[in-house]
């Protein structure tokens, strides 16, 4: 016999949950942050670096590149993908949606709230 009194149910639960809680928090942090870290990683290395070593979680200095960003942001005239144009389109669509929605909804809401 150890001489220690047996742990009460509350103490056992406290300890188990205390450990479990940190495991859960670590798990949650991993599933929310890792995919976005991976996204960042993919954007900063050339495709052959990914194909050679698909499992690497770090970026070696010799692989580091921002050419992907340059290519995406350059306008189509300059041989890029013209992403700025798409961003502008998105901005126009969302702005127009907001304005039209407000224009339709505000008078109606005012009238109905009378």
């Amino acid at each position: 016999m150890t001489g220690k009194t047996a742990l009460s149910r509350a103490q056992v639960e406290d300890r188990v949950l205390g450990v479990l809680k940190w495991l859960v928090i670590a798990f949650l942090a991993a599933i929310t942050l890792l995919p976005f870290y991976y996204m960042l990683l993919l954007s900063l290395k050339p495709i052959d670096a990914l194909l050679l070593d698909p499992g690497s979680l770090w970026l070696s200095a010799k692989d580091f590149t921002v050419s992907t960003y340059q290519d995406v942001l350059r306008s189509t005239d300059a041989g890029g993908q013209g992403f700025m144009r798409f961003l502008l389109n998105s901005a126009l669509v969302s702005l127009g949606t907001v304005l039209l929605t407000l224009a339709a909804a505000v008078p109606g809401a005012y009238a109905v709230s009378g």
Partner: protein
Amino acid sequence: MTTAPAGAQKRRTPSPRPTGGPGRPDRRPATARSRANRAGLAFVSPTFLVVLVVVVLPIAWTVLLAFQDAKLVDIQGMGLFGNWSLDNFSDVFASAGFWSSLKTTLIYTAGSTAGSVLLGLVAALSLRKPFRGRGLLRAAMLLPYVAPVVAVAFVWEVALSPQYGIVNDWGSRLFGWDDPIAFLSTRAYEVNVLGAHFDIPLALLTVIAFECWRYFPFAFLFILARLQAVPSVLEEAATVDGATPLQRFRHILLPQLMPVIALLCVLRFIMTFNKFDDVYLLTGGGAGTDVAAVRVYDFLTARYDVGAAAAQALVLAASLMILLGFYFKFFGNKVQEEA
């Protein structure tokens, strides 16, 4: 209701016409009330117009198309009425894969709803007590929900790829997977446990996992907000009475959270049942993940069969209504408590 100018919904009995010749138009000066009434109608009309054009007419047209033999080529010259038939519906019910697709949709919806609400509940509970960096972590929880679906679906696709995906690479390194697993294109993955063979629908499970991952922040937000409104005295009293943490959760916290959980289940169920983009982006509806919404899209774009697509959409809406009817019959009071 009486302070603001009279709204459109105010009705008044028309006052008798002032005396005048029967042929003459009504020249009576408008009263303040009728002017306000007219202004109210004018104010409502833009809203009404938008709802009519964007919501009512498309739905009405869908219903009409569902009962007609409509192909995309001859839809322009087609009259709205005429050639009514139930052919589309009998085709839809008899077509190969309809019932299996409905079953897939049900499994997908139930799995995603339960998973995302459960994960949200766990997340809200574990991030309840203050600790260093909690605010940052709470903000991080929202990332999957606010990120554009195209971006996150792409990341999942790359990460799960059998050729260059990080998951398979680490899986073979850590767990010794012999062959890379094609998560998104395996209809049935054979598992051997103690000599018994199981086929698990891997692609469907992956899509469900994606949906749980993407929408647990939604449940997390709702439940966290409700948790912050829980009075602490109840729990303190229970602690003093000797309740263990699990008992406090089961008997004090959970009953208070139940209404919001019921509401979340309804909302997630409706949204996931009609979900199209997530499944389509991840698998394109292949490998046993052909949920009903993707099937409707396939009918429309691959077969150009507008009528069948419309009929299928109506069947989808009807089955959702039936399921929700059951739900509200049994859990309706819980949901209404919160809403």
